[in-house]
Amino acid sequence: MKSTTLSNISTNPGRLLPTRDQVMLIGRSLMLPLIGILLFLFLWFNAARMIHTSLGEFPGPVQVWEQTTNLVTEHQEERQREQDFIARQEVRNAETLATDPQAKVVIRPYTGKPTFVDQIGTSLFTVLSGFFLASLIAIPLGILIGLNESVYAAVNPLIQLFKPVSPLAWLPLVTMVVSAVYVSQDPTFSKSYLTSMFTVLLCCLWPTVINTAVGVANVSKDLLNVSKVLRLDALTHVFKIILPASLPLMFTGLRLSLGIAWMVLIAAEMLAQNPGLGKFVWDEFQNGSSNSLGRIMVAVLVIGLIGFMLDRAMLLLQKKVSWDKNAILR
């Protein structure tokens, strides 16, 4: 991928001032996005002041910045409280043991409420585990469908049927099934986590299945002939020819899937009450204080930023494993 980075602009032997072209390049790569963001902030600032809700004025950039610092401070305070709690407990236990070495000491976990940062962590864990499991199902299924036209003909109607289903429609069913099936005295995972995770899984399967299948079905005839002439066995055929050849389209599917997974997750968490970003938004909405809208807006921006970063991470992974270094990936 051809891109101009600041590092190769600044190498300018023999001249102290950047050339005209370099200035133009810096302008393009830095100034234009900056102008876009500033313009957006200006419009947001002015538009927000004109919207009055029952919870007060719609939050503008300033309020959102305040709430961001608030949320970070709350997180730090909560962590401090946790440390204090643990320290107090240890001191108390030590005292008890000093007076009576036989005494049973109880170590209680800290049970404060999760902070915004904790909720981001929960959301990430939920979405990544759902996405990972979905890929584990979708890639082999896609390969199978792509290799065999009969399987494709049999499975395609089902894919087309389930692909457009909204996560909100799956959620009640998933909730009931999880409650019925996942019965244990000492659950490793909370039910809300499983419900959100499976909903994410169901919704983000399809792009990977479809794109993998298309990639596999379009492997060049010449390469298939090579495989035939060499009499490669089925496994070698898949791993040496089919998988690498369909990798680019597979990744297109994976990136679409991860994007969908992240979008679905927020809705799923709201309804399943999984302690992630979705629940944060819902709780703030129910809370209805004058700060709520600002805090929701922070969540909106964070959700967007994380979605963007997830996509970039997939792109990096794709570049890492891609054999076609000339392909333009964006």
Partner: protein, 278 residues
């Protein structure tokens, strides 16, 4: 003559919506061990179909192919194919491309170090050892085709099938590769079937040139034996009367007896219309 490879009464029908289309009709050809045979004919005459049937990629509808008296009915490495557009795996280096073939063919027969030597040896044959750690997109078209040939040779095939191997290359590279191929053929004595469009290439390389009639129902028109002694040198031969006679024979077959009248139709007209519009 010993019959190494026999094609007897080979016919093939392709299904079309309008019923079966007979592409080849009763192709008979016996090829001796170590012989170099070229198939020449106009495009669409079924040269590639013949090659694909020998390779086992297509199944003849009638008749069949015998290699050392055993019927050919599936592809296999004893009939290695060099495809027109190299068809190397783009994610593997030249070495790894050959390695894939060698591992598959010599599994359990050669040790790891023997395989390594064998791969290097075959890359040496095509003069590609200097670039064996490069991927196909890092080397030129001629070099890719060399690797393709190395891969095929490394399978130790009983018959080497070349499907217009140099068709996509420029004239100089092509001449260079033809010389390499002659060298290899002289050293190893492979049985070779090569498809070509190039009359000079056919005369220079072949022991026999099989000239095919136009389709549908294409068949073998004439067979020309090229009894020029080897090694052959292209520059010396260009002034040789016999060489020019053979060339003339092939040209006469292609452009007099089997002249193909291409219809000059719509695309050109619409191109002119576009020019006018512009």
């Amino acid at each position: 003559m010993n019959k190494h490879l026999q094609l007897s009464e080979v016919s093939i029908d392709f299904p079309t919506p309008k019923g079966p289309f007979r592409a080849l009709d009763k192709v008979n050809l016996d090829i001796a061990k170590g012989e170099f045979v070229s198939l020449i004919g106009h495009s669409g005459c079924g040269k590639s179909t013949v090659l694909n049937i020998v390779a086992g990629l297509y199944q003849a509808t009638e008749g069949g192919v015998l290699l050392e008296d055993r019927e050919v009915n599936a592809p296999g490495p004893e009939r290695a194919v060099v495809f027109q557009n190299h068809s190397l795996l783009p994610w593997l280096t030249a070495y790894q491309n050959v390695e894939l073939a060698v591992r598959q063919v010599f599994k359990g027969k050669k040790s790891k170090s023997e395989m390594r030597d064998w791969i290097t040896h075959n890359l040496e044959l095509v003069h590609m050892t200097h670039a064996m750690d490069k991927r196909p997109d890092e080397i030129s078209g001629g070099m890719k085709q060399r690797v393709g040939i190395a891969r095929a040779l490394a399978m130790e095939p009983k018959v080497l099938l070349l499907d217009e191997p140099f068709g996509a290359l420029d004239a100089l590279t092509r001449a260079h590769l033809q010389d390499s191929l002659m060298e290899i053929h002289a050293d190893l004595g492979n049985t070779v079937i090569m498809i070509t469009h190039d009359v000079d290439e056919a005369v220079l390389l072949s022991d026999r040139i099989v000239m095919m009639t136009n389709g549908p129902s294409a068949s073998i028109g004439e067979i020309l034996r090229i009894d020029l002694e080897r090694p052959r040198k292209r520059v010396e031969l260009s002034g040789d009367a016999r060489y020019n006679h053979f060339r003339h024979e092939v040209l006469a077959f292609l452009y007099e007896r089997q002249r193909k009248v291409e219809k000059i139709e719509a695309p050109q007209a619409s191109f002119k219309a576009q020019q006018k519009a512009a």
